[in-house]
């Protein structure tokens, strides 16, 4: 299986598409860092977990699209035609699907690491600041549930209709336009800009209210569950 995983990773990551996506991400990231993050969010430092979280939530739509694009490698009509042959191989379909999802997740994680690396370089160069440990929690809280949920939901939608994956790419943009409840604040960026102000102290340490934490956990769990679901048509 590890051989297949390596092959899938190479297929996904060693192509022009991944490089193009990475370039777009880095350019957009630079823009956000220089135009928005540099000012700091909610009176906090540009390198505070809040400002960093705000940066990540602004990058989230592109990471979401990137993740779903990886899935289109497996859900496109071409891939579905090839699936007839793959199904004939002596390999458990569930394990094979899992390996493919792991490869897609690896792609998403690599893109996320690129964004975080860019921020780290920015902080080091601009402020001589290297306390990256404090940024781990907002990164995990913001990105992990989103990426896993994108993977799970995208995988399921792709199995039903390939074009649904493309429609699903618009979700983060829709979230930004909609007045979401506070518990979903990470999805439109309001959590990082509003919650620290509500804490009533200057430069508050990073924390998350239970509602936001629960929603993120639910999204993570939903993503994992959706990975296990196989639509009826696909079973046939």
């Amino acid at each position: 299986m590890s051989k297949i995983f390596r092959y899938e990773c190479r297929r996904l990551l060693w192509n022009k598409f991944f490089i193009g996506l990475a370039v777009v991400l880095l350019l957009y990231g630079a823009l956000v860092l220089h135009a928005v993050t540099i000012l700091g969010v909610s009176h906090t430092a540009p390198f505070s977990p809040w400002s960093f979280g705000d940066y990540l939530s602004r990058m989230l739509p592109l990471l979401w699209i990137g993740m779903l694009f990886f899935l289109t490698f497996y859900t496109s009509p071409k891939a579905r035609r090839a699936a007839v042959l793959m199904d004939a191989t002596p390999m458990p379909p569930k394990q094979y699907a899992l390996v493919r999802c792991a490869a897609a997740l690896t792609g998403g994680v690599l893109l996320s690491l690129l964004c975080m690396g860019e921020a780290a370089v920015f902080y080091g160069r601009m402020f001589g600041w290297y306390g990256w440990g404090s940024l781990l929690l907002p990164a995990l809280a913001t990105l992990l549930p989103a990426l896993v949920f994108a993977l799970g939901s995208g995988w399921l939608l792709g199995q039903i209709r390939p074009w649904l994956v493309y429609v699903w790419m618009a979700v983060p943009f829709l979230c930004m336009a909609l007045p979401l409840p506070d518990a979903l604040g990470i999805w439109n960026g309001h959590f990082f800009s509003k919650y620290p102000l509500a804490l009533g102290t200057l430069d508050p340490a990073f924390s998350m209210p239970a509602a936001v934490l629960i929603v993120q956990c639910i999204l993570l769990a939903t993503g994992i569950v959706l990975l296990m679901v196989r639509p009826a048509r696909s079973k046939r």
């Binding site: 022009k16 598409f17 193009g20 996506l21 370039v23 777009v24 350019l27 957009y28 630079a30 823009l31 220089h34 540099i38 000012l39 700091g40 009176h43 906090t44 430092a45 540009p46 694009f69 289109t72 601009m126 402020f127 001589g128 200057l202």
Partner: protein, 727 residues
């Protein structure tokens, strides 16, 4: 010939596709985005809101949609796996050219359709200031030319990669670049032109010319890139380089590609609109040029001939100096960077001169060596296209039959290092304008017609006393208003007459002038009995000098004047700018310390609040002024860089400058008015503060330092700096 024969067939096939009609329908609808979602033109003029924004949004959406359609259409044969067959029948190069022409034709049809559909809607929304010329130019330039650019870019991406998914990513990335990183670079934002405002009352040719230049540059670039990609179209089963080698056998093809790319590079580098002024606005090296020793100014005369069709200026200037040094002297002039200087003569003989490459505040430095004679008459000629400094706020140098504004060195070269003579800097300006235009010097001077010329122009003359000078001219109406014991000459664009009369703007002006005169006293400068109030083309704000004040047309739009929240009167910025006549810009406040919150803005904003309170009530004034100052000041004190200045110092100079400029504005426009309001509470209320301000306004001035300082204000209030601390 084969291309021309295949073109109608391809166009017919394209127009039979449902996807084409969907794309066309969405493009026709897309200007609606500019009304609700995407509003790059930030000004509040009617044409900005209801013409520029819909047209730009339509251009962005249309270019993206047509780009995607292009990729879909180019990929059709490959997707259906019939490319091997079609390539055998028709050369893939011919197919690509035919498809491109068909797609471009569909784009042209769509733009025409969009213009027809949106014509009645735009006319209805814009109202009385709608004109067909603005409508056609806006839709053709802001929207229309974006579509072929999208088609060319997408087609090039596909022809290079021959993969639909990769082409889409590349094309979207190219669009995203324009919408984000390049958005503020007027030459690079190919998709969304840098248009911040369109004027309702005057012409917009300068902005349209600039957008046309950008589109032209990109058309050349993308046509060049497309031609290169055309050479890369895969043939005979070869790869990209094999196909390229084969296609370049016909030499004219790569030559055309290179010529297009070279022309685009030239168009980019030789743009005539924006100068290269130092972006650091704190540097004022032209004010530090040492005065020419023993040289004094006697008189200046200038004859200015604006070409309102071409947007250029030609002029002759003559300067009389007295040179008592007995030596040659170098005299410096500020000139607009777009002008070319020629025929420089001193007492009839040619003299050496240089024009610096360095530019600052929209000026280049012209240095002329004058001879060691006591009386020197220096003459020179200048001509060119006046350039601007702010690429994101273009339009200020509009020059047409409806409007022009020539400021300082754009009017005639400005002397920078010559001491004034006994009479100061006496100046006579003559300007020849179309008969429909009125010349309005931005000072207390009055212009008069000295000749009516056979070509339908009139020559105006006025006297002034300054090294620079600003002249407005346009198709204006002048209202004479008696207020505050003086005559206000209120100039506004003829197109706006009905709106102004309906909004009773004249009454609003009267109210403000009466208020300030009653509370603070009469204006002590200018012509004494007159004040010109000039509505300018949309400029993002106004300014005032002795005897004249500028009002931005954006404050007089139908939407703004009819805003019930503001009490149904004219905009509050109008009040603000009028108040600057009392708390004058530059005249009464020392601006040398840019970090100090004490400036003309503090007292002006405070006075505006007082007038608004009187006009619209205490609740309105508290909500829109005091509460907002308080909120902004609270945010300011909590700002990370205010609390930790060491981190601000670590940033690159440009970033540091941008942040500190923004913080400084907060202090001038919010912190200081709030402090003055606090002082008002401490001195015993509004009446007591009015008396203090009245006394300060009418105090005896020290001619060596005529500025009102913060300490003088504190002393007059009997307070200390600590008393007004807000933290």
């Amino acid at each position: 010939m084969k291309t021309m024969r295949l073109f109608p067939l391809e166009l017919k096939r394209l127009l039979q596709s449902r996807l084409t009609w969907l794309t066309m329908a969405l493009t026709v609808l897309s200007p609606v985005l500019g009304l609700v979602l995407y509003k790059p033109a930030t000004s509040t003029t009617m044409l900005s809101m209801y013409l520029a924004n819909p047209a730009i949004a339509g251009g962005v959406a249309g270019a993206i949609l047509f780009g995607l359609l292009t990729i879909f259409e180019l990929d059709r044969a490959c997707r259906s796996r019939v490319d091997i067959l079609t390539d055998a029948v028709v050369s893939p190069l011919t197919t690509a050219l035919t498809r491109l022409l068909a797609l471009l034709t569909a784009a042209v049809l769509t733009v025409g359709l969009t213009m027809l559909v949106w014509l009645p809607i735009s006319a209805g929304l814009i109202g009385s200031v709608f004109t067909g010329a603005n409508y056609v130019l806006a839709y053709l330039l802001l929207m229309g030319l974006a579509l072929p650019l999208g088609v060319l870019a997408a087609a090039a991406a596909y022809q290079f990669t021959r993969r639909a998914d990769l082409s889409i990513v590349l094309f979207i990335a190219f669009c995203a670049l324009s919408l984000t990183v390049w958005a503020s670079d007027w030459q690079l934002c190919w998709l969304n032109p840098c248009v911040w405002a369109l004027s309702d009352d005057f012409s917009n040719f300068r902005v349209f010319r600039s957008v046309a230049w950008m589109r032209f540059t990109w058309l050349l670039t993308l046509a060049g890139v497309w031609t290169v990609s055309y050479l890369c179209i895969r043939q005979y089963g070869k790869g990209v380089f094999g196909s390229l080698a084969r296609s370049t056998r016909r030499l004219y093809r790569p030559v055309i590609a290179l010529a297009l790319l070279a022309c685009s590079g030239t168009a980019y580098a030789a743009q005539p609109f924006i100068d290269r002024s130092n972006p650091d606005l704190t540097v004022m090296s032209f004010y530090e040029i040492p005065y020419a020793e023993g040289v004094t100014f006697v008189r200046r005369t200038a004859q200015v001939f604006p070409d309102t069709d071409a947007g250029t200026v030609t002029g002759r200037a003559s300067y009389q100096f007295q040179n008592t040094s007995g030596q040659e002297q170098s005299v410096s002039f500020g000139i607009n960077p777009g002008y070319t200087i020629s025929n420089v003569k001193a007492n009839g003989a040619d003299v050496p001169f240089t024009v610096s490459d360095y530019q600052e505040y929209n000026e280049a430095r012209l240095e002329v060596t004058i001879p060691a004679e006591e009386e020197v008459e220096l003459t020179m000629e200048y001509s060119g296209f006046p350039q601007e400094s702010l690429p994101t706020m273009q339009g200020g140098k509009e020059l047409s039959r409806e409007y022009l504004c020539l400021e300082n060195s754009a009017l005639s070269p400005r002397v920078m290092n010559v001491m004034p003579g006994e009479a100061g800097y006496p100046t006579t300006i003559e300007i020849t304008l179309p008969a429909s235009m009125i010349a309005i010097p931005f000072s207390s001077s009055e212009a008069e017609v000295i000749s009516e010329n056979e070509d339908g122009t009139r020559t105006w003359r006025y006297e002034a006393n300054s090294a620079g000078g600003i002249l407005y001219a346009g198709d204006y109406i002048c209202e004479q208003i008696e207020a505050g014991g003086m005559t206000i000459e209120f100039y506004y664009g003829r197109k706006h007459q009905a709106v102004m009369e309906a909004a009773k703007a004249v009454d609003a002006v009267k109210e403000v002038v009466d208020y300030c005169t009653e509370h603070y006293g009469s204006l002590s400068f200018g012509a004494g009995e007159t004040l010109k109030l000039i509505q300018s083309r949309v400029a993002g704000g106004g300014y005032a000098v002795g005897g004249a004040s500028l009002l931005d047309e954006a404050d007089f739009t139908i939407a703004n004047l009819g805003n019930a929240e503001k009490g149904g009167g004219a905009g509050e910025v109008m009040i603000h700018e009028l108040v600057h006549q009392w708390w004058g810009l530059g005249n009464m406040f020392d601006t040398s310390d840019s970090t100090s919150p004490w400036s003309a803005e503090g007292l002006t904003v405070y006075t505006t609040y007082r007038i608004v309170k009187e006009l619209y009530g205490e609740d309105y004034a508290r909500e829109h002024y005091i509460d907002q100052w308080q909120q902004t000041v609270d945010d300011y004190y909590l700002n990370f860089y205010v609390r930790n200045p060491k981190y601000l110092e670590m940033l690159p100079e440009q970033v540091q400058l941008a942040i500190s400029n923004s913080l400084s504005q907060v202090r001038q426009y919010n912190e200081m008015p709030l402090k003055i309001w606090k002082a008002e509470q401490l001195v015993g209320g509004e009446e007591a503060m009015d008396q203090i301000l009245h006394d300060l306004f009418n105090r005896e001035l020290d001619p060596m330092y005529p500025y009102l300082t913060y300490q003088e204000f504190l002393d007059a209030c009997g307070l200390t700096e600590e008393d007004l601390n807000l933290e």
